[in-house]
Amino acid sequence: MNQTLQIGRLLRASTTSCVVGCKVTQREAPALGSLVRIPIDSQTGISIYGMISDIHVDDDGLVRQLVTAEGVSDEVILDNRNNRNVPLEISVIFCGHETGGKVSHLLPPRPPLTLDQIFLCTEEEVFAFTLPPRFGYFRHLLRANDIPVGEILASHLQQTAPIHQQKGNPGWGREAGRELITALRDDYPVLIDVLRALADAGLLSDVIAARSGGEL
């Protein structure tokens, strides 16, 4: 995906994360683990990078009533998705920022502001942000509480590895797996969780190959 796609606008933010609101019908709704970019200062070119860690669909009284009704028409479903003010809430964990074209995996200097626009990263932006040895952004996810870290990372690796493959870096997935094992070597429960998720995503064989090849 090379086009810049706006996915929504900022609802609330802190130093480490934010929540974005978008319409439920967004056809190209982003996936868990996708990287997003939030331009916060067009003059200095500062953009925040973050990873989608949760997607929350809210309800209200009418929606609760409709789910119990039989034969709800397509038009009523469209009405509730397009017209009614029930946004999809997307949680984003900040992973780094870019200033004047220079990528950093440190937290941004300040959070974005209400109604700032959020864009799904293009393949070029994903490639530049995740280029080895750039795995420092993993730490922001690994220290977050109450999120399915393993699932998010597995999804992120699944989305990112093919981009690196296309751009002549087929070993990216293996290196990312190695980085994760190193980062989690003292946290067995989370490590097992992450490895199981990578196995379910079909990414574990690369990591094991890396270990048996003596790369670790």
């Binding site: 409709l66 009704a69 028409s73 038009e75 469209l78």
Partner: protein
């Protein structure tokens, strides 16, 4: 303490004590009313004559007028197409408050445009009218009150329906919440409000375009048919004292007809005998029927008001019945037309909206160099005394 609970406790206990006997009495009256209904069924011409005679004596008589169908008729929903467009309108208002910092009123109308089986997203249309300066006063110089604002709201609902019908796919069904007859209008037969005349003109315009027009009353408390049965119970030429009696008081038409109408069925069509009937004439003369909009074992009746031309057009009437049932089914067990619910949701002006508008108006006046106004002392003290939880 908002309520003297010590004082009311005894009254609540008494209410509980008396209710079983009262309920028993109502059941007896209901059974009697059902017998009278059976006895009156098929005697429409005779009943019409009784209504005419009573209306000569009691100018504000309100009751059902039997037409062609027998009183105990139950007509099932006919299968067929749904309309090209359903336009539902509802309104909400801010009543000018002499104690507020700035004096203004608002009439907010929501129109919900729905196209069944076309796979398209329905449209929401909102029309907001700010009432200020000279428009805040009635012709006699007083500040316009709740009734006048309601009149403006009802007129705007109807006007906007006329406006949007022009671009809607046919056939068009328009729905509004509540009866077509307006509450307390006309207040006087000699000098009706000009806005009421405009309201009638809008109804005539819809009738001339053969736009299906219906006012939907959920959980009706009306006793129009019951009143007709009471008239039938009196002698041949009842006097005023007899006509004032209410032997079936407390029984509603819905309670009477509920057991006769299976889900999806409608009652007979009745004419409406009322004081305002002088104004709703010819093709917009008021008629109504009851509809069991529910799907369960317990009937859920609605009263539907329609104009005369629609009452006489069987196919279009069947289209309306089908449309209302389809609309109610969208909300499952809580049978109510979906489009009307959405129109209400679009139109609703909240307390938060009111406060925001007050700020907007105050700021605009400040820009024009007009010193900020303040709330009345009474209002300020009320606001301090406790949390307001409702719009005045």
């Amino acid at each position: 303490m908002p309520v003297n609970y010590q004082q009311i406790k005894e009254q609540v206990r008494k209410l509980g004590e008396l209710t079983p006997a009262y309920k028993q009495e109502m059941e007896t009256r209901l059974a009697f009313a059902a017998q009278r209904l059976q006895a009156a069924a098929g005697r429409n011409e005779e009943l019409r004559a009784k209504v005419e005679a009573a209306a000569q004596k009691v100018s504000h008589l309100r009751c059902a007028i039997p037409l062609a169908e027998s009183l105990d008729t139950a007509i099932p929903m006919q299968p067929g197409e749904l309309p090209g467009t359903i336009l539902a309108a509802d309104g909400s208002q801010i009543i000018p408050d002499p104690h507020a910092a700035v004096l203004f009123g608002v009439v907010n109308i929501g129109i919900f445009s729905f196209h069944p089986h076309q796979g398209s997203t329905p449209q929401e249309i909102t029309h907001t009218d700010l009432i200020y300066l000279d428009r805040l006063y009635n012709p006699s110089g007083g500040l316009i009150n709740e009734e006048m604002i309601s009149m403006l709201r009802d007129l705007e609902e109807r006007r906007l329906l006329v406006q949007h019908v022009a671009e809607a796919a046919c056939p068009v069904v328009t729905l509004t919440d509540g009866p077509l007859e307006l509450f307390r209008e006309p207040a006087s037969a000699a000098l009706p409000d000009p806005r009421f005349i405009e309201y009638l003109d809008a109804l005539k315009e819809l009738a001339s375009r053969r736009v299906v027009t219906a006012g939907y009353v959920d959980r009706p408390r009306a006793d129009l048919l019951v009143r007709l049965l009471e008239l039938d119970m009196f002698g041949e030429s009842p006097g005023m004292d007899e006509l004032r009696m209410r032997p079936l008081q407390g029984i509603t038409d819905a309670a009477l007809l509920g057991p006769l109408l299976p889900p999806g069925h409608r009652s007979a069509i009745f004419g409406l005998q009322s004081f305002s009937g002088k104004f709703f004439q010819d093709e917009i003369a008021l008629h109504f029927f009851y509809l069991n909009a529910g799907t369960g074992r317990e009937p859920w009746l609605a009263r539907v008001e329609i104009p005369a031309w629609l009452a006489q057009d069987e196919d279009t009437l069947a289209l309306l019945q089908r449309t209302l049932i389809a609309e109610c089914q969208q909300l499952g067990q809580s049978a109510y037309p979906y489009s009307l619910l959405r129109a209400h949701e679009i139109a609703l002006v909240t307390l938060q909206d009111k406060e925001y508008l007050e700020n907007m108006v105050g700021l605009e006046l400040l820009k024009q160099g007009i010193a900020p106004q303040v709330k009345s002392h009474k209002q300020s003290l009320k606001d301090m005394a406790g949390t307001r939880t409702r719009l005045k």
